[in-house]
C-alpha cells in the first residue's frame, strides 16, 4: 500500500464564504451558509456535522464546484478555485446514492475518470486493479453495479473517487443508505484507506457517532454558521453551547448561578446544593450558568454531592440506566458495569456525584 500514497494531498481554505438562496415560499433571500471560515490541513480528515438544513452539504458542494459562493473565496492547495468548474478542480466525491453509472461494469465505472484524462490503457488497468484491491473488490471487475450489495457499491464509489488521485476527497453522507452494522464497518474502512493514502478528506454527515469515530476535526454547523470546531474530544467534553452539547451525545444540563471563583474553577450554586466545577474562564459571582454533564460522568450512591430521587431504573446489559430528579431537573445517568454494584430502584432516595474535571460550565 506504500506505493499508493496520493501524489500531494492539498489543504482547503474557506475564506468567509456565504451562500444565499431564495425562500420559495416567502420569496425572501436567506443565508444557507453564512461567513464560514476554516482551514483544512493537507492529509487531515475533517467532518462537517450538523442537523438537516444546517448548510453542511451546501458547503461541501461549494468546495466541489456544484454551487458558487455568493461571498468569500475557496482555496485548494493555496489556489483560488471559485472560478473553476467542477471538472477543473482537483477533487473527487463519494455520493450518498453512490452515483455509479448503471450501464458500466465495476471496472469501467472505476476507470471512467482515467479514460477521460487520457491515461494510457495499461496504466488504467494497473491503477484500477490496485485500487480495487485496496477496497477489497478484486475479482469483481466485470460485475454490473446492480449485481453488487450496498456495501460493495459503496466501495466501488470510493474506488472511483480514489483512482483519479484527487487533492481532496469529498464525502456526501456516503453511509446513509447502509444498514447500521455495515455503516460501522464501512466507516472504519474509509478511515483506514484515508490514513493509508494520506489524502485530505472532507466528510459530511448528520450522524454524530460517525463523525466522532473517523474525524481528526469536527466542524459542527447550525443554521448556516459554524457552531464549534475542534477535535472530537474537545467537542464532546468542552462544548461551547447547549446546542453543541446536546447534538453530540447525550447530555444533562444543571441550571444554577456562579457562587464564587475557586482556584481551579468555580463553585456553582444549584437549587439542590453547591458543587465545584472545573472551568478555565473566570466567572462573575451571581452569573447564571449551566453545568454540562455527560450521563457516563455521573455516579450514583448512598452518599455524594447532590441528593436525588430515582424516577427510572432500567438494566440495559452493559450498563444501568437511571433517570433521577435533582431538585427540579431530570438527570440521566449511565452506570457502567452494574454487576456487584448497588442497584437503586424507582422511588428510592440517593446521591449523585461527578468529577469536577468531567463537568463543563457554560
Amino acid at each position: 500500500m506504500a506505493d499508493m500514497k496520493v501524489k500531494q494531498p492539498k489543504g482547503v481554505k474557506l475564506d468567509h464564504i456565504s451562500k444565499i438562496y431564495k425562500d420559495p415560499k416567502t420569496g425572501k433571500d436567506f443565508y444557507a451558509v453564512h461567513d464560514v471560515a476554516l482551514d483544512i490541513a493537507p492529509g487531515s480528515f475533517v467532518t462537517l456535522l450538523g442537523p438537516s438544513g444546517c448548510g453542511k452539504t451546501t458547503t461541501l458542494r461549494m468546495i466541489a464546484g456544484f454551487e458558487s459562493p455568493d461571498e468569500g473565496e475557496i482555496y485548494l492547495g493555496g489556489e483560488p478555485i471559485n472560478a473553476l468548474t467542477p471538472n477543473k478542480r482537483d477533487t473527487a466525491m463519494v455520493f450518498q446514492s453512490y452515483a455509479l453509472f448503471p450501464h458500466y461494469n465495476v471496472f469501467d465505472n472505476v476507470a471512467y475518470g482515467l479514460k477521460l484524462r487520457k491515461v494510457p490503457k495499461n496504466e488504467i488497468r494497473d491503477r484500477v486493479e490496485k485500487i480495487l484491491g485496496l477496497v477489497e473488490l478484486s475479482g469483481m471487475e466485470q460485475r454490473m453495479t446492480n449485481q453488487l450489495s450496498g456495501g460493495q457499491q459503496q466501495r466501488v464509489a470510493l474506488a472511483r473517487a480514489l483512482v483519479v488521485e484527487p487533492g481532496v476527497l469529498l464525502f456526501d453522507e456516503p453511509l446513509s443508505n447502509l444498514d447500521a452494522k455495515l455503516r460501522v464497518q464501512m466507516r472504519t474502512e474509509i478511515r483506514r484507506i484515508q490514513q493509508a493514502l494520506g489524502i485530505t478528506a472532507v466528510y459530511v454527515t448528520h450522524d454524530q457517532s460517525e463523525a466522532m469515530a473517523i474525524s481528526d476535526q469536527i466542524i459542527l454547523m447550525k443554521q448556516g454558521v459554524i457552531a464549534q470546531m475542534g477535535s472530537p474530544m474537545e467537542i464532546y467534553y468542552k462544548p461551547n453551547s447547549e446546542f453543541v452539547a446536546d447534538f453530540i451525545g447525550e447530555c444533562n444540563f444543571l441550571h444554577g448561578k456562579v457562587s464564587e471563583n475557586a482556584e481551579k474553577g468555580a463553585i456553582v450554586s444549584l437549587p439542590a446544593g453547591k458543587v465545584a466545577v472545573r472551568t478555565e474562564k473566570k466567572r462573575n459571582p451571581g452569573e447564571a450558568c449551566e453545568i454540562v454533564l455527560r450521563p457516563e460522568a455521573i455516579t450514583i450512591g448512598d452518599e455524594g454531592m447532590l441528593p436525588c430521587r430515582v424516577e427510572l431504573s432500567c438494566f440495559m446489559g452493559s450498563y444501568q440506566n437511571y433517570h433521577v430528579r435533582v431538585g427540579e431537573e431530570l438527570v440521566k445517568i449511565t452506570d457502567n458495569c452494574p454487576l456487584n454494584k448497588k442497584i437503586f430502584q424507582t422511588g428510592e432516595q440517593a446521591y449523585i456525584s461527578f468529577d469536577p474535571e468531567c463537568a463543563h460550565l457554560l
Binding site: N87, M93, A99, F101, H103, Y112, G113, R117, M144
Partner: protein, 292 residues
C-alpha cells in the same frame, strides 16, 4: 387446504372483466381480420374462403402496388428514427438543463400532439396552397419563384411535403418522453461524471443517453410502428395521391375496404401491418437488449 384454490379463483374472477374486454376489443378483431384475410368478401353476404390468394395478389398485383406503399412507410420510419428522434432528443437534453421558460417551451413543443391531425392537416394544406399558401408566398418574396410548386399535387414532391408535418407533429411527443426520462435521472450521476472530468456534451453522450436507453427504445418502437400505421395526416393532405405517390399501407387498406368493397383484401393488409409492427417491435427490442 382449499385456501390456495379459493385465492386463485378470486384472482381469476377479478381479472375476468379485463380479460373479456381485452379479448373482445383486441384479440377478437385480430382473429376476425386473420379469418377475413383468407376470404373473398364484399362486406355483404357470406365470405368465400379462398386460402392465401389475397396474400399472393397483394404482393403481385400492380393495381394494388403494396410495395410502393411499404416503401413510403419504410422511408417515413427511417426519417422518424434518423431525424425526428434525434431532434426530439436534442430538445429534451437542452430543456432539461434548467432553461429559462422550460415549462413554456415544453407546452409549445407538445401542443401539436394535442391538436387533431385533421386540424393540423388543414393548416398545412393552407401552407402548401400553390396560390395563397405561406410557403410559396415566402419563396416568391425572396425571389425564389422557380422553387414554387404545387406541393401536394406534384407527385415528385408530394410525399416529401407530407413528411414534414408528420415528423413535426410528433417531435413534442418523443421530446416529452425523453425529457421525463432525463429528469428522472439522479442528479448525482451528472455531478459524478462532471467531477470525473466530463464536459456537458460528454455527460449527455456517455451518461444521459445510455441512462435513458429504455425510453429511447420505446420511442424508436413508437416511431417505427407509428410510421407503418400512419394514416390520418396523409388521408387529410392527399388521400394517397397524386397518382398514389403518397400512398401508405393504411390509406391503401381504407381505399380497398370502403371504395372497392374488398373487405378480404383490406383485412389482408391489416394482418400484414400487425405482423410487420410485431416483427419490428421484436427486432428493435433485440437491438436494444442490454447486458444483464
Amino acid at each position: 387446504m382449499h385456501r390456495p384454490f379459493s385465492y386463485k379463483l378470486n384472482i381469476f374472477l377479478f381479472l375476468l372483466p379485463a380479460l373479456i374486454l381485452f379479448v373482445g376489443i383486441l384479440i377478437a378483431p385480430i382473429a376476425m381480420s386473420a379469418y377475413y384475410s383468407l376470404t373473398e368478401w364484399n362486406g355483404l353476404g357470406i365470405p368465400k374462403f379462398i386460402g392465401l390468394q389475397n396474400y399472393v395478389e397483394l404482393f403481385t398485383s400492380k393495381s394494388i402496388n403494396i410495395m410502393r406503399a411499404l416503401k413510403n412507410a419504410m422511408l417515413l420510419a427511417v426519417l422518424s428514427v434518423c431525424i425526428q428522434l434525434p431532434f426530439a432528443l436534442l430538445l429534451a437534453l437542452k430543456l432539461s438543463r434548467h432553461v429559462k421558460g422550460e415549462r413554456w417551451y415544453l407546452a409549445i413543443y407538445f401542443m401539436p400532439v394535442l391538436i387533431s391531425s385533421v386540424v393540423i392537416g388543414q393548416l398545412w394544406i393552407k401552407i402548401y396552397n400553390p396560390e395563397y399558401g405561406a410557403l410559396n408566398m415566402f419563396l416568391r418574396s425572396v425571389g425564389l419563384d422557380s422553387w414554387t410548386r404545387i406541393w401536394l399535387g406534384d407527385k415528385n414532391v408530394a410525399f416529401g411535403a407530407c413528411l414534414v408535418p408528420i415528423l413535426w407533429q410528433y417531435v413534442g411527443y418523443h421530446m416529452l418522453l425523453m425529457y421525463a426520462g432525463i429528469k428522472g435521472m439522479p442528479a448525482d450521476l451528472n455531478e459524478a461524471a462532471m467531477l470525473d472530468g466530463c464536459t456537458p456534451a460528454q455527460v449527455s453522450w456517455y451518461i444521459t443517453i445510455p441512462y435513458i436507453r429504455p425510453i429511447l427504445r420505446v420511442s424508436v418502437i413508437f416511431a417505427v410502428t407509428g410510421s407503418l400505421k400512419s394514416f390520418d395526416m396523409i388521408y387529410v393532405l392527399t388521400n394517397g395521391g397524386p397518382n398514389h405517390a403518397t400512398e401508405l399501407p393504411s390509406t391503401l387498406m381504407i381505399n380497398l375496404l370502403f371504395l372497392r368493397n374488398r373487405y378480404g383484401m383490406g383485412s389482408t393488409i391489416a394482418v400484414m401491418l400487425i405482423v410487420l409492427c410485431f416483427v419490428f417491435a421484436m427486432l428493435i427490442n433485440l437491438a436494444f437488449k442490454e447486458e444483464k
